[in-house]
C-alpha cells in the first residue's frame, strides 16, 4: 500500500468509527473489509484497530477478526472461557443473542451451538466501566467440536489485532499527557521541560515503538509465536505509558472527570483477552526453557 493509500484508508476508518458501535461491522462489510484484509492484512488491521483504540471504540470488530479467520459461521466469540463441572463460562463482548446461537470459543478451541434459552447471561462488573460486556455460561455438552478450523492462526490474528489496538491506546495515552504537561507550568516552566518527566516519555515512547516493531514483524511471518510476543509486548508497553501518564498528569489523571482513566482501563481489559501479557510472556519463556533455543521469528 502506498503512503497515500494508507492515509486514505486511515481517514475512511476514522470517519467510519464515528458511527454507533452496533453499525460498524455492517459498514466494514460494505467496504469490502474481508477482501482488504486478505490483500493487505497489516495495513488494514493496524489502521482499524489502532484507531479503534485511540477513539475508545466499543464495537465487536475483534469478534469479526476471529470468526473470519476461523471461517466458521459463528454469531459471536466467547473470551477467557473456562470449563468446570460441565459448564463453560466466559466473557461475551457482543450483545447476547436472543435465539439459537453459535459461538466460537478460543482458549477452549471449540465451536458451541447453544439453543435458545441455553445461555445464562449476567452483567459483568468491569474495570472499564464504559464496556457492557457480559458473563455468559452454557452447558459444555453444547460444544460441538473443535472443527477443522485453524485455531492457532485465528488466535494469532486476534492477538495481532489486539496488539494494534493496545498500541493505539498506549500512543494516545502518551500523546495526551505530553500535550498537557507541555502547556502546564510548575516552578515557572512547562512540566514537560523537566528532565525526569521527559525521560519517562522517552521510555514510554520506546516501549510503544518496540511493540509496534514486533507487531510489524508478526504480520510478516506465519509463525504464530510472533503474534503472541507482539501482544505480550504491547500489553507491557501500555502499562508503562499508563503508569507514566498517571504520575505526570498529577492528581487530575486519576479522576472520573478526566479522560485518562478510560485509556488506562481499556488497555488493562484488552490485555486480558486471548492471553494476558503476563501469561503469554511466561508461556514464551517456558517454551524457550523446554527447547533450549530462542526462536528467530523475523527475517531481515
Amino acid at each position: 500500500m502506498t503512503p497515500d493509500e494508507t492515509k486514505e484508508l486511515r481517514s475512511t476508518i476514522t470517519a467510519l468509527l464515528e458511527s454507533p458501535a452496533g453499525e460498524i461491522p455492517a459498514q466494514l462489510d460494505e467496504l469490502g473489509w474481508e477482501d482488504l484484509v486478505a490483500e493487505e492484512e497489516e495495513a488494514a488491521i493496524t489502521a482499524l484497530f489502532s484507531e479503534h483504540g485511540r477513539v475508545l471504540g466499543t464495537s465487536t470488530i475483534l469478534d469479526g477478526v476471529l470468526i473470519s479467520a476461523l471461517g466458521v459461521a459463528a454469531d459471536a466469540v466467547i473470551y477467557n472461557a473456562v470449563e468446570s463441572g460441565g459448564t463453560i463460562t466466559g466473557i461475551l463482548v457482543a450483545t447476547a443473542p436472543e435465539g439459537d446461537a453459535v459461538f466460537a470459543v478460543p482458549g477452549l478451541r471449540t465451536i458451541a451451538s447453544v439453543p435458545a434459552g441455553g445461555l445464562t447471561v449476567s452483567p459483568l462488573p468491569n474495570f472499564d466501566e464504559d464496556l457492557s460486556w457480559s458473563k455468559v455460561s452454557f452447558a459444555a455438552a453444547s460444544a460441538v467440536s473443535s472443527s477443522d478450523a485453524d485455531w492457532e492462526a485465528a488466535e494469532a490474528a486476534g492477538q495481532r489485532a489486539l496488539a494494534a489496538e493496545i498500541i493505539g491506546i498506549a500512543r494516545e495515552t502518551l500523546r495526551l499527557v505530553m500535550a498537557y504537561t507541555s502547556d502546564r507550568f510548575q516552578y515557572g516552566h512547562p512540566i514537560a521541560t523537566f528532565q525526569s518527566v521527559r525521560f519517562r516519555y522517552s521510555d514510554a515512547h520506546s516501549a510503544n515503538e518496540a511493540a509496534a516493531g514486533l507487531l510489524h514483524a508478526a504480520f510478516s511471518t506465519d509463525d504464530v509465536r510472533a503474534s503472541r510476543a507482539a501482544k505480550a509486548l504491547a500489553g507491557r508497553a501500555a502499562q508503562l505509558s499508563a503508569q507514566h501518564s498517571i504520575q505526570t498528569f498529577g492528581a487530575i489523571g486519576s479522576t472520573k472527570e478526566h479522560v485518562l482513566h478510560h485509556y488506562v482501563a481499556r488497555g488493562a481489559v484488552l490485555d486480558s483477552l486471548l492471553g494476558s501479557s503476563r501469561d503469554l510472556t511466561s508461556q514464551i519463556g517456558a517454551e524457550i526453557l523446554e527447547s533450549g533455543f530462542a526462536p528467530i521469528l523475523t527475517e531481515l
Binding site: 515512547h205 510472556t281 508461556q283 517456558a286 524457550i288 531481515l300
Partner: protein, 384 residues
C-alpha cells in the same frame, strides 16, 4: 541451476544468503563455535583467523566495494553475514563490530583510503580503534579538545583520547580531533586515520572490572599525520561521525540482537525451569525480539536511504536495555553459580561488559534527550 555470479550475489542480499548458508553448512566455520576465550587479545587473534577464512573463501568479502578489495554489495550483506553466523552458533568476530561502524564512513568519505587500507582489516589481519571520547568529552562529544594543528604536508596532533574499544593491538586509530577554535564546538572537528606505530602515539590498556583489556586510552604527543590521511574535508568531522553512529544504531544493534538470541538460548539451557525463570526468560525474549525487529527496519532504511532519523535512538535504548537485562537475568537466575566457581567466567565477564552498553556511543540519557527533543518535540529543557 548454475551457481550465481559475483555480480548476482553482490546485487541481492537474498542470493548472498543462500550462497553463505551453503558454505556454512559445509562446516568450514564450526571450529569457532565453542572457541570462547577469556583473554581478549587471544580472542581477537583467534577470531581474526575466522575473518580471514571468510574473506578468502569469498563469502566474507561481500558488503564492501570492489575498489576496497572486496566483492561488492551493501550493508544488508553484512547484516546477512551476522545473522547467518549467529544462527549457526558461531561467534561474531570482534573485528566486525568496529568494521561495521568505521568502514562505511571510510568508504563514503575517503574512498582512496578505503582502497589502500580497508582490505587488511577485511582480511582479519588487523583491527582498528575508534578514538572519539576524551576525559572531558563523553556524550558531549562537541566539547572535545585533542587538537590537530595544520603543518607542512599534514597535521600535528596533541592531546588525549579515552575509552577506545580494542585499542590494545589496534593497527590504526580513527581519530576525531579539533581543527577549529576551542569555541567552534561541532563545527571545528576533523576525522583522521592514523597508524598506531606513528612516533608520539601511545596506547595504554584500560582493564574493565572483569580484568579484560577491553578499552584503552590513547596519547598523542606531536604526532604527525599526513594530509592524505584525513577522512573527508577539514572541519567535516562531526557530520561524518554522525553518519558513523547511524551504523551503530542499525547494523550493530542487529548484530548484537543475533548474539543475544544465542546467549538467551544458552542461559535457558543452563537454568532450572522455575516459574521465575519462565517469566524472566520470556521477558528477555520480548526485549531481544523487539530489538531484532526494530534493528532490521533501521538496517533496511539505512541501506535504502543512506541515513536514518533520530527515531533510531529508540533502537539504541532498546539495545542497552536488552544487553543489561540479559546479564542481570543471568546473574539472578544462575545465583551462586554466577558468583562462585569457574563455570560462569563468561557470564561474569559479560555482566561487566554489558554495563558499558548503556554508555558507549552516546549514553542512554543522551538518547532519551534526543528522543524527547527531536522525536517527541517536547518543549526544551531550560538551560542555565
Amino acid at each position: 541451476m548454475s551457481s550465481p555470479t559475483q555480480a548476482e550475489i553482490a546485487a541481492d542480499a537474498d542470493v548472498y544468503r543462500t550462497v553463505l548458508r551453503e558454505w556454512l553448512e559445509e562446516g568450514h566455520a564450526d571450529a569457532w563455535r565453542d572457541s570462547y576465550q577469556y583473554d581478549i587479545e587471544a580472542s581477537i587473534k583467534n577470531n581474526g583467523k575466522l575473518v580471514k577464512l571468510l574473506f578468502e573463501s569469498g563469502v566474507g568479502a561481500y558488503g564492501w566495494p570492489v575498489e576496497a578489495g572486496a566483492l561488492g554489495g551493501g550493508s544488508l550483506h553484512l547484516a546477512t553475514l551476522f545473522d547467518e553466523l549467529s544462527r549457526r552458533g558461531i561467534p561474531i568476530p570482534e573485528h566486525y563490530g568496529v568494521l561495521t561502524t568505521l568502514g562505511p564512513p571510510l568508504v563514503r568519505y575517503a574512498p582512496e583510503l578505503a582502497k589502500l587500507y580497508l582490505a587488511a582489516f577485511l582480511r582479519g589481519e588487523e583491527w582498528w580503534g575508534q578514538s572519539f571520547s576524551e576525559p572531558e568529552a563523553g556524550s558531549d562529544m562537541a566539547s572535545l579538545r585533542c587538537r590537530a594543528t595544520p603543518v607542512d604536508g599534514g597535521y600535528r596532533v596533541n592531546g588525549q583520547k579515552i575509552w577506545t574499544s580494542h585499542g590494545v593491538g589496534a593497527k590504526k586509530i580513527v581519530l576525531l580531533a579539533r581543527t577549529g577554535t576551542p569555541e567552534s564546538r561541532h563545527r571545528g572537528l576533523t576525522l583522521f586515520l592514523i597508524d598506531s606505530d606513528t612516533p608520539g602515539l601511545e596506547i595504554r590498556p584500560i582493564a574493565l572490572a572483569n580484568g579484560r583489556n577491553e578499552l584503552a586510552e590513547v596519547f598523542f604527543d606531536d604526532v604527525f599525520v599526513p594530509t592524505e590521511r584525513r577522512i573527508g574535508a577539514e572541519d567535516e568531522g562531526w557530520a561524518i561521525a554522525m553518519y558513523l553512529l547511524q551504523f551503530e544504531r542499525g547494523l550493530w544493534a542487529w548484530l548484537r540482537a543475533g548474539v543475544l538470541m544465542n546467549r538467551l538460548g544458552e542461559l535457558a539451557r543452563t537454568v532450572e525451569p522455575t516459574d521465575a525463570a519462565k517469566a524472566r526468560i520470556g521477558e528477555l525474549y520480548l526485549d531481544v525480539a523487539a530489538l531484532r525487529a526494530r534493528a532490521a527496519e533501521t538496517a533496511k532504511e539505512l541501506a535504502d536511504n543512506g541515513e536514518v532519523g533520530p527515531g533510531a535512538s529508540v533502537d539504541k535504548l532498546l539495545l542497552g536495555a536488552a544487553e543489561v537485562g540479559m546479564l542481570n537475568a543471568a546473574r539472578e537466575l544462575l545465583g551462586d553459580t554466577f558468583l562462585y566457581g569457574d563455570t560462569a567466567d563468561r557470564w561474569r565477564e559479560e555482566w561487566w561488559w554489558s554495563r558499558t552498553t548503556t554508555i558507549y556511543g552516546g549514553a542512554a540519557e543522551a538518547q532519551r534527550q534526543i528522543i524527547a527533543d527531536r522525536v517527541l518535540n517536547l518543549p526544551k529543557e531550560p538551560r542555565k
